[in-house]
Amino acid sequence: MFNLSNLVQKAQQFIDPTLSITGPSSDRRPSKATLFRHQFRLPETQSPLQEITAELTLSPHHSTRGSSGESTSHAQERDRPQGNHYVGKLHLSEQYLCFSTQGSSFLNTASLSASSAFTGQTHGAGPAGNGFILPLCAIRRVERLHSQSYMFALAITTWNGVSDGKAKPGSAASGQKLTIQLAGSRIQCERFCDGLKRGLREGVREVENLRAVVSECYSEYLLSEDGDDKKSHGNEDRKPREHPDTGLGMVFKYPGNARKLRDATKIRLWREYLRENGRSATLIRQPTFHKLIRVGLPNRLRGEIWELTSGSFFLRLQNPKLYIQTLTKFSGQESLAIDEIEKDLNRSLPEYPGFQSEEGIGRLRRVLTAYSWTNEEVGYCQAMNIVVAALLIYMSESQAFFLLSILCDRLLPGYYSQTMYGTLLDQRVFESLVEKTMPILWDHLAKNDVQLSVVSLPWFLSLYINSMPLIFAFRVLDVFFLEGPKVLFQIGLAILRINGEELLDATDDGTFISVLKSYFARLDESAHPRSENPKLRAVTRFQELMVVAFKEFAGITQNTISEQRSKHKGAVLENIESFAKRTSIRNLGPESKRLSVIDLGFLYDRFYEVLYERQQRDEIMQHEAERKAKAGRMKATEVVSGFSGNNPEVGRVALGPSPTQMDYDGFREFLAGIAKWAVTDSPSSPPELNGDKQNHSYFGGSTRSRSTTISPWGSGPEPADHEFMKRLFRRWDTDMNNTLSLQNVVTGFAQVKGTKDIMSNISYFFELYDDDGDGRVDRDGILRISEALLFLSRRGFEGNLSPSPSLHDLATSPERRENRDEQFLSSISAFIRRCFEYADPDHAANQVRQAAADLASFSIGSDNDSEDLVDLSDPASPKPNPSSPRLLHTKIPLSPTPSTSNPLSPVKAKATAANLALDPNNPLHITLPTFRMVILADEVLETFFESGFSASFRLLDAPQPSHASSSSNLTTFSNAAARNALAPGAGASVGGAGVGVVPPGKGLRGMLDNIVSDGMRVAAEVRRRMDEAQREEGEGEGEKGHVEEEGEEEGRDGELLEGAETADVVVGKGAGVVGDLLGPPGEGKKEGEEGVKGRQRSVSEASKILEFER
């Protein structure tokens, strides 16, 4: 045999640089799984489990007619007697066994093929080099061979041909055989074999899928044709196989002249290649494979090879029925995307006869529609119709469907998204590559103000399909699907290079475009028409283009593209975002005109900033949870393409649809950023206080995810949760969908801030509390209003000082402020008194009694103010407290009759119904005029409604120093990100700086806050006692429900966490058990076989035997 140690050394030497990445330690690098998937074009479910250096030997006798094909192989590969040898890396994922000679593909360095002069051009973004990607279910048999060396050698027999699999499970006659020598330590090898065994057993379940999927492949038909005639193995009579669907071309002819394209010759070559190297799922890439693709695929095989090289085959294998299921599931439903699709159906490759027919249009409609349902974010983008139409000429609907999703998700990331950021970015990348490779042309373009992307954008967006004549565009696609997106760049650069001289003469867009147009029209002509050499004369312009693209621009690799993409990404996204912002603000409607453009811009930024940050946090927390659940198996986010890699970017406006609706929690956070009162008093949120709040909050249940380690509010100030905010939220939520859109928020603000009229402010406030819209606010509402006023004022009001105060002001005039706060408290106290004084009774019938009762309650309340304070043993609270009337009733909660005017029942309707004691006799209310009168009667309140309230929302008119930075920048998100990066984990003070929030509990301000919050505490205390009393009576059902719910939720959280941990354990154990069962392969064939056979009968049933021979 060959010199093994030498080989190993060589391999190590080549692969060493990659070890840092591909070694076992790399589990910490989240990008590896993605890189792996990208290289082998595997579905998202796959992750690299095992890998090992190996040598692949393809025995020349695995096919009866191999000799003719051999001749095309490189001579040097045949220096060994046993067929072709390739050194590379063998990878194992959950469902695939992959081998590639380009072990380096996870790294930047290219071309490390040890045994072949020809290396693939993918450089890590596609099935590079030579090798295979075998679904484990396509492996029929694995044997461990005797080897002279210490190394492991496995003989793998693949499952080839549908017919055989059905007929004789044990027969391996027609399967192709390949030998793999593992080069690694014994332990490594054993581990690999263990993994393989597990995978093989799992793979059994997929066999049916494989059978179904493969049967739609033309290669099966192609090979079975001659197999039935000539081969002797399958002696059962078989009806001629049905011709699989190879696209519209079958019916409407394939574009181009088949004879001129030498289609028959190509088919013959492919038939030979496939017979030797496996078909569809079991195809092995040898150098010939790449060459055959470069010369153009034969029509009928084109669809299948596209599917294989792009990896969409594996998607289809994973879920063969997805296409049909999607269509059925959504049949009859309407969507915007469908409308858009309908517009374009008649205008997709209209020159191709197939798309003038109902058949063709129907197919196109179904594929586009199905895809728009599976990926609603993308939906439908013009140009997709053209691309899909082109695909449908060569493949079945289902094949095209999966290929389209590979295109959108991987090959053309972001191209067809809502903002088309991928397209714009790649245009920028293309321009920079032109600048780099053709500086003279670039200068010329710049000088003449010719915008390159105007020309090149359609090239990329529709994959040259509507730029070049179809037959040539398909040739580009052949290579593109194998080698990835860089092909588009290479072709584009080559086009410019070839036409360079003419383009240098063009001085405007028009000429520039016409030069290229006429070039495309003459692609079939000879590139050297005047040449003496007939061979040279035979070279067409298209061939020349291919040569220039792949030779001259061979240096353009996937890595080049990725680097450039990440370089330009920021600028491109910012452009899109500023455009989106501009458009969005302009379209906000007439209401928004009441706010200044700057304010609108600020609201826009703040709105999306909050949504974005919340999404980020959710994601991080989710990841955290996932990480816990999956222990070790990480979810990759970095993508080879340089996109969508950085997790924190998901959700950026420019990257496509991001959330546009804000829920209540988001709204709280949003308010906390612009209004001081919306920041909670307890930023650290001690649990008991939190719980207390919850129990007594009228609208409970918004404190989810408190238990996580990350603050649910990020680095910003923690928002308060007050009934007032809930009311505001509901008021602004005009669509009644429990979320706010930017439109809602802007309209809401326009109402609050856009008016300077005190009367409308007062009515606005009144309406907030007029639940049923009948123009009356009842007793409960009055107290709520007073609570809200207290809540709003608890950090002091700037409104009565100046409309735009700053932190500085607040700090320098504490005394004045204190006075104002006192004033405010007493004003509110007076407010309540007056309200009750002037309130109207609800029913005329009750009038008399009520009036009396009102009077009584009022007088009691006011008379006992001071007493109550003492009772509460809260001497620190120096103010007459508006909550004091409640206290009275807490003293007599059990007596039904005297509690006539219990005004503070927190659950008015329910409680009243449930408890007669609460206040059956004298409901009362105030009307808007009364409310107005009461407000206007008090100077402080008047000022509050005149300016204080609207000024408490700070938009840009407040001259906050830190505001300036965020306002001057059009894109908030980058800003926000920067801020977060600067102050990770910093408290409210840092995070809130940009939005003008004063952290409570600091210095003089803290004192004031204490005073105010004492007042609040009194109120809370009163309420708590009342609730307790109610509960004791078992009548506060609603409230109780709240508490229980809360408890349950917490319980569930806990369970979840526990569940995650146990899951870990189970996985660990499971693995252990399996390992035990199987034992190391070295322990002998019997044990291994027993384990396999005994436990998994289906293994043998499905014609799989794992044999391990010593």
Binding site: N346, M420, Q451, T511, F579, R586
Partner: protein, 249 residues
């Protein structure tokens, strides 16, 4: 069409960059096609990114060479538009008179142009698909199902309803908006050719003399570069003398 007989006398010629904007499938490309090639295609491929065409328009005193940027209409292509309307001297904002939402979109475009495009840009608001509104005998051969009957006239209001008139945007509404924003306004039919040339001529006339540049790269005849340069010098001279504005060509 527009440039027939342009060669008789050497008139000053200048190029104008014009951009077409509007919702998808309102007929932007068809308008251009009618103007440039005097042709109409029933199923035209959607424009990807943008298409570029040129056409000359002869005014009595000068020749305007339109460099027409025909943009893609789908909403998500909107973010590409700034690339195309950059430096444009004229814009055609097109809507479909049979689709109310398209006028709204057109208004957004007008707003965008007024704020973002070069100042002094000449904007024309164009309601296309006039043939669908006034059941026009000439359109009998068409595919459209909406223009079956021959009773409705163009100026009628929208409530005439489906079977005879597919018009959804009353002329009045659009005209009022155009007046308010000081836009040129036309209703056209790319299919029948109605008003198409008139739109472009009106734009040509409305382009302020001062913003006219010299001719650039005449129709791909690249070896004429020298001559053009000298022509440009002459032209500026001629322009300074200020030939009076002529009528339509």
């Amino acid at each position: 069409m527009a440039d027939s007989g342009a060669t008789s006398a050497p008139k000053p010629s200048s190029s104008v960059k014009l951009v077409l904007l509007g919702e998808a499938a309102v007929g932007k490309s068809s308008l251009v096609m009618r103007f440039v090639n005097n042709d109409f295609q029933e199923n035209k491929e959607p424009t990807i990114g943008a298409a570029f065409l040129t056409q000359k328009c002869n005014l009595p005193t000068r020749t305007i060479k339109f460099e027409i940027w025909d943009t893609a209409g789908q909403e998500r292509f909107a973010s590409l538009a700034p690339m195309y309307y950059r430096n444009a001297q004229a814009a055609l904002v097109v809507y479909d008179i049979t689709k109310a939402s398209s006028l709204q979109k057109a208004q957004h475009w007008v707003a965008e142009l007024q704020r973002q495009a070069s100042p002094g840009i000449v904007i024309a608001l164009v309601g296309n698909k006039f043939d669908l509104a006034s059941a026009n005998p000439a359109s009998d051969t068409s595919t459209g199902g909406d223009d079956a009957d021959a009773t409705a006239t163009a100026e009628e209001e929208e409530d005439v309803d489906g079977e005879s008139d597919a018009r959804k945007v009353p002329t009045k509404t659009a005209k009022a908006y155009a007046d308010e924003e000081a836009l040129l306004f036309f209703e056209t039919s790319a299919k029948t050719g109605l008003n198409v040339a008139e739109v472009f001529t009106a734009i040509a006339n409305a382009i302020p003399e001062t913003s006219l540049k010299g001719p650039r790269g005449v129709g791909g005849q690249t070896n004429l570069g020298r001559q053009e340069d000298s022509a440009r010098v002459n032209l500026t001279g001629a322009n300074v003398q200020g030939p009076k504005e002529g009528c339509a060509c």
